[in-house]
């Protein structure tokens, strides 16, 4: 069955803080949206696979975010925790058109 996607507007590109995360609540889900040093936007589930730390408050380095709770290092590209830790968070596709940032979620 084909999956349909919703495009969810999460804010203006220019207003997102650089190299930091932003907490976005969509229905009953929390998404952490990051603007990287490169200017790219990434979105991941705001829940660390370890003990549920809020990743939006983590320190950002390139494509990775360090969880503020116990310093796990999570890839924002594939959502995987970096060795020696194991685990994965959901990642979301993002889109930027003009100054608008969207997160794509499954229906």
């Amino acid at each position: 069955m084909e999956k349909t996607q919703r495009r969810i507007f999460v804010g203006n590109y220019s207003e997102l803080p650089k190299k930091l995360g932003k907490t976005v609540i969509i229905g009953d889900q929390e998404v952490a949206v990051f603007k990287l040093a490169s200017g790219d936007i990434r979105a991941i589930e705001n829940r660390c696979p370890h003990k549920g730390g809020v990743l939006a408050e983590g320190m950002v380095s390139g494509d990775h975010v360090f969880c503020p709770m116990h310093d796990w290092k999570i890839s924002m590209v594939d959502g995987k925790a970096q060795a020696p830790d194991e685990g994965c968070v959901q990642t979301y596709t993002t889109e930027v058109t003009e100054d608008q940032v969207y997160v794509l979620m499954e229906k």
């Binding site: 507007f9 803080p17 930091l20 932003k22 976005v24 040093a37 730390g53 320190m59 969207y102």
Partner: protein, 803 residues
């Protein structure tokens, strides 16, 4: 048997080094007396350049403190000059009329700056660059004047010029030859150097001979042989040094250019020895530290009757201590008909390398731009290695460790401080040293110019074998191999201003760093430059970025500031109201006597702060958190002092100050110590008429009882000592190192020794005050800043489905 009297004239680097060697060999053989014209204890002359360039304070360059002389029973007469030596009676006399007999006499009078005998050279505003006095004079001038001229573009001249630039002066450098450092470099290297220094702001007048110094009483400028003139308010002569042999000569001790000595540093007069820049050995006079230290070793062995081969001369190498330029030269530098050379000139990258080969053996080297190979080349040149050995090794990437493995045990690794391979290896083995820092601390190796760092690391690797890599945890983090101290040095030297730049310039393997180095660099940069550094929010842990403490469920806690743990009914009411309004999960008293409101939502933080109208404590920062106090003399029947008042005073003064880690203080008013100062970073106990300061205590993971730092009488002194202590910790602590481990690492005696000097305390407090002046109270700042509010505290709530 009475001890032999050993007398030293000259309290400089060579003489004291020789004494140190004697003390190592025979600590009890001599009764030692030292005369020194300068009114300071023995200091590191090499570092004067750094003092002038602003990286170092005069107080930092002392090599042997007053206490050292006392501890070793050495009688020191500072500021006293020997004016006569009676060789037959074996007595010296001084300008203060003192007479002192000797059994053995060492002359180590060093050199004087060579002042060109130009017309006008006696005018006010002409100086050499030789001692603390000269250095202070230049610093003084820079405060009142703009234009300086340095005569001589050798090592000293260029280092002086760089210093004067740093002091804000315009600098012309005058040189008689047509390229810089012509005694150490060849023309291509000299030209590259000139280009680099011109970019740094130096102006060169080459092929110029000074004819006259102009001006009335004070200098106004220079006139050259070709008639041209320039203006200058300060003239630094750096054209060379002259061995200081007047005393020897006047007293019939044989002198040529320097005092003539044999391999055992004996002059031709019985019982008189000479060492250092004032001597001539096999027609050589040296102006660098490495040879002087080798001489000192030979001399000490001779004095103590330890068999030795004597001093055989030194292959010297030079390096320019100017940031941003890497220049190295050693051995023979000029080609002649007996030599062949290998040259690599990369104009694009600005690097140059020349090796001189004589009879197939390496005889000299000049490196510009990339000097990594310097120490290795020096070592090969010393043993006159075949050039093939160097070239083959280059191909096979011979590791540094195998190179040091081949060195003889007594080969010097650190020229500046005269530390041999054997000393370092022994120290590593017997004291279990694991890092460069530890080797530095234990043996002095690489404490001065730092050229030998890579060799010391190689030695660590070679000595520790497999242990080495595992234990090399000294680097700041996995993104770099540099240690904290190295990073800080580079920041200072290269004037780096933000974390990305540090990572970039210092070759971080991870270009954006990690959660370890980002906050550490952010802290170091802010500590080094408190007024100008712009704090990076993204390099802060969440607690410090949001100024509230994150809890396991992502909510935060708020701890309103209550100085010294004292509150009142009005504040309590406000706190109660805020707790209701924002529906806090729990109200709890902290270990530091404050009220903690737990379970506050991030987006509510700013409103809550606004409602409270109180600072929100710093209960979560890496820096001063709370000052816990006991009831004290106001209410307690045992209290001898106003501990509560003292605590409040401390908290008000130091609130907001950052540190390598969290800091807790406590003040009690009698030995019952109700505020539990024994396990605080600073614990103060008031007794009748005295305050005791305990430091380095910790009640956390590693329980540690504090050490007594000092006892003082007044509240002002308490403030002064605490300020100096905290600042010293801020400046020397590794990021995330609590004072307890810091005190263990440095040793409480070291901390005491540093802080015992009033001047040092004042300087530390001055820097502390600058750091304090830059602190902004973050909560009202957040409340009033729309952008921060939106960027950091807002959560986006998407309810309806967008298109």
């Amino acid at each position: 048997m009475p001890k032999q009297k050993l007398l030293l004239i000259g309290n400089g680097m060579a003489g004291i080094r020789a004494i140190e060697e004697v003390l190592k060999l025979k600590p009890n053989q001599f009764e030692i007396t030292v005369f020194g014209s300068e009114p300071y204890p023995n200091y590191n002359r090499i570092q004067l350049s750094k003092v002038l360039q602003g990286d170092t304070d005069v107080s930092d360059i002392t090599l042997n403190e007053w206490q050292w002389y006392e501890d070793n029973n050495i009688r020191l007469y500072p500021g006293e000059t020997v004016i006569n030596i009676d060789k037959t009676k074996q007595v010296v006399s001084t300008d203060k009329g003192r007479e002192e007999p000797y059994d053995k006499l060492i002359i180590a009078t060093g050199s004087n700056a060579f002042i060109l005998p130009l017309p006008g050279a006696d005018k006010e505003g002409v100086t050499g660059f030789r001692d603390i006095k000269d250095c202070e004079k230049m610093i003084d001038y820079s405060k009142k004047h703009k234009k300086a001229a340095v005569i001589g573009a050798g090592l000293l001249g260029l280092e002086a010029a760089r210093g004067l630039l740093n002091l804000g002066m315009e600098v012309d450098v005058i040189h008689i030859n047509d390229y810089l450092m012509d005694r150490q470099l060849d023309e291509p290297a000299g030209r590259l150097l000139q280009k680099e220094l011109e970019e740094q702001g130096m102006n060169f007048l080459l092929n110029k001979q000074t004819a006259e110094i102009t001006g009335e009483e004070k200098v106004s400028g220079l006139r050259f042989n070709d008639g041209e003139e320039i203006d200058a308010d300060l003239i630094v002569m750096a054209v060379g040094i002259k061995p200081n042999v007047a005393l020897a000569m006047e007293n019939g001790i044989k002198v040529n250019r320097g005092i003539i000595v044999n391999d055992y540093m004996e002059t031709e007069t019985p019982n008189i020895f000479a060492v250092g820049e004032c001597v001539e050995h096999q027609e050589m006079v040296y102006g660098l530290v490495a040879p002087l230290y080798e001489q000192g070793q030979a001399l000490a062995k001779q004095l103590c009757g330890v068999p030795c081969d004597g001093y055989k001369g030194t292959v010297v190498s030079t390096q320019l201590k100017v940031s941003g330029v890497d220049v190295f030269s050693t051995g023979k530098i000029d080609e002649d008909k007996n030599t062949k050379s290998i040259k690599v000139f990369d104009e694009w990258n600005g690097t140059y390398k020349k090796l001189i080969v004589e009879d197939g053996k390496l005889a000299g080297a000049v490196l510009f731009g990339d000097t990594k190979d310097g120490t290795r080349l020096l070592s090969l040149i010393k043993k006159a290695a075949d050039v093939e050995e160097y070239l083959n090794a280059n191909e096979s990437e011979q590791s540094g460790a195998s190179l040091v493995a081949e060195m003889p045990y007594d080969e010097l690794i650190c020229g500046c401080n005269g530390v041999s391979k054997g000393t370092i290896v022994d120290a590593i083995n017997s004291k279990g040293l694991k890092s460069l820092e530890e080797v530095k601390g234990c043996t002095n190796a690489s404490r001065s110019c730092g050229t030998c760092k890579s060799l010391v690391s190689d030695l660590l690797e070679y000595t520790l074998g497999d242990d080495y890599n595992e234990n090399q945890k000294v680097s700041v983090c996995g993104c770099t191999t540099l240690s904290r101290d190295e990073v800080i040095e580079e920041i200072k030297e290269k004037g780096l201003t933000h974390t990305r730049e540090v990572m970039n310039v210092l070759g971080w393997s991870n270009e954006e760093g990690c959660s370890k180095c980002k906050p550490a660099l952010n802290y170091y940069l802010g500590m080094l430059n408190p007024t100008d550094y712009e704090d990076e929010k993204e390099s802060r842990y969440v607690n410090e970025r949001l100024h509230a403490n994150i809890q396991k469920d992502g909510t935060f806690s708020v701890i309103p500031r209550m100085y010294g743990g004292v509150t009142n009914a009005v504040d309590l009411r406000k706190i109660a109201d805020a707790a209701d309004k924002y529906d806090v999960g729990m109200i709890k008293l902290t270990g530091g006597q404050r009220i903690n409101l737990l379970g506050v939502k991030k987006q509510d933080l700013p409103d809550m702060w606004a409602d409270l109208g109180m600072k929100s404590g710093h209960a979560y920062q890496k820096g001063l958190r709370t000052v816990k106090t006991c009831v004290g003399s106001e209410f307690c029947r045992f209290g001898t002092q106003d501990s509560t008042g003292m605590g409040i005073k401390l908290e008000k003064k130091f609130e907001g100050i950052s540190g390598p880690h969290k800091l807790k203080m406590a003040v009690s008013a009698c030995p019952r110590n109700c505020a539990e100062g024994g396990i605080k970073d600073v614990g103060i106990v008031g007794l009748d008429g005295v305050w005791e300061l305990h430091v380095g205590g910790n009640g956390g993971t590693e329980l540690r009882q504090g050490d007594l730092l000092c006892k003082v009488k007044t509240e002002d002194e308490v403030m002064e000592w605490v300020g100096a202590y905290l600042q010293y910790y801020r400046e020397t602590g590794n990021y995330l190192e609590r004072t307890s481990s810091w005190v263990d690492r440095l040793g409480i005696d070291h901390v005491k020794e540093i802080l015992a000097v009033k001047e040092t305390r004042d300087e530390l407090n001055e820097r502390m005050d600058i750091a304090l002046s830059a602190i902004q109270e973050p909560w009202s700042e957040v409340i009033n800043n729309e952008e921060t509010l939106r960027e950091l505290y807002e959560k986006v709530n998407v309810t309806s489905t967008s298109k």
